[in-house]
């Protein structure tokens, strides 16, 4: 069984949040256009960062067993979000409507083999799986401290 943990604590400042796992802290915030003070990336950008990293990790893990060699890979991601959704419009979803990514490989492999390898990575990528197929999220506890 693998367990992953995180804590997210609101700081006293505006919309700023301190997130941490295993004592490693990151500041999350919103840009000024979305009401924040721009001291860090925002949560949906962190989702794209997580997906991009997961694609990188999956590629690094699968390459040797599949005899695919590459020096480096660049993942460029985009997500479309209409703020009217979380602001209350019932006809628009709260989150991203679509996520897109492009892969660039520095490699001697052919274009066709890169495409096949990319398909393998997509099928095995944990974060792509969670976003494409959904995951059960349960509220385990509401505590007044």
């Amino acid at each position: 069984m693998e367990r992953y943990q995180a804590t997210a604590r609101k700081t006293p400042s505006s919309l700023q949040v301190d997130v941490h796992s295993r004592g490693i802290h990151t500041t999350i915030d919103e840009p000024e256009s979305l009401g924040g003070t721009n001291t860090g990336m925002n949560p949906v950008e962190l989702v794209l960062s997580s997906l991009g990293t997961s694609l990188q990790e999956t590629a690094a893990e699968l390459a040797p067993k599949n005899k695919f060699n590459y020096e480096q890979m660049i993942v460029s991601l985009e997500g479309d979000l209409d703020a009217a959704g979380f602001m209350g419009d019932p006809d628009i979803r709260n989150g991203f409507q679509e996520i897109r990514y492009q892969l660039q490989f520095k490699t001697q492999e052919s274009q066709a083999d890169c495409g096949k390898f990319a398909d393998l990575v997509a099928a095995n990528c944990p974060i792509e799986d969670m976003l494409s197929h959904g995951v059960t999220v349960v509220l385990d506890q509401v505590e007044i401290v």
């Binding site: 609101k10 479309d80 897109r100 492999e109 976003l131 999220v137 349960v138």
Partner: protein
């Protein structure tokens, strides 16, 4: 309101098994097994917690909820006999320093879950499309 497109690029760094996410002026290191960088699994949990926290801070006046402080703790699990690449379950706990009743806390949490973009994408799915594969010179 209009559709906004958020963009991120993830590249390797000089260290093996370490990656960097570049977003606007921000650069965050992420790595699968590092004492100094969160993993992609931790980052998705952090995104969910941060998103719900920002929703709460943005809407608490509108929802008539007061608090002095709050934080989320999140845990994701992947069983040993994993049936899928991703996590099987994410458990969320919210901790409020507040004078509001338990019921009001529950109701406000329900509001946050129904408003939060990251919660929407994780629980309702989102199309993830690869739009290109290129070989760099």
């Amino acid at each position: 309101m209009a559709m906004e497109t958020f963009k991120v690029q993830v590249t390797s760094t000089a260290k093996p098994n370490e990656y960097q996410a570049a977003v606007r002026d921000f650069k965050v290191k992420l790595a699968p097994d590092s004492p100094t960088a969160p993993s992609s699994h931790e980052a998705i949990l952090q995104a969910l917690g941060a998103c719900e926290a920002i929703v709460m801070a943005s809407f608490n006046q509108q929802q008539d909820f007061t608090y002095r402080d709050f934080y989320y703790t999140l845990e994701g699990i992947k069983p040993a006999d994993a049936q899928r690449p991703g996590m099987a379950r994410i458990g969320v706990a919210v901790h409020f320093d507040t004078d509001e009743s338990k019921q009001k806390c529950h109701d406000f949490m329900t509001f946050a879950e129904n408003t939060c973009p990251v919660m929407d994408n994780l629980t309702n799915t989102v199309p993830v499309k690869r739009t290109g594969v290129a070989v760099m010179a």
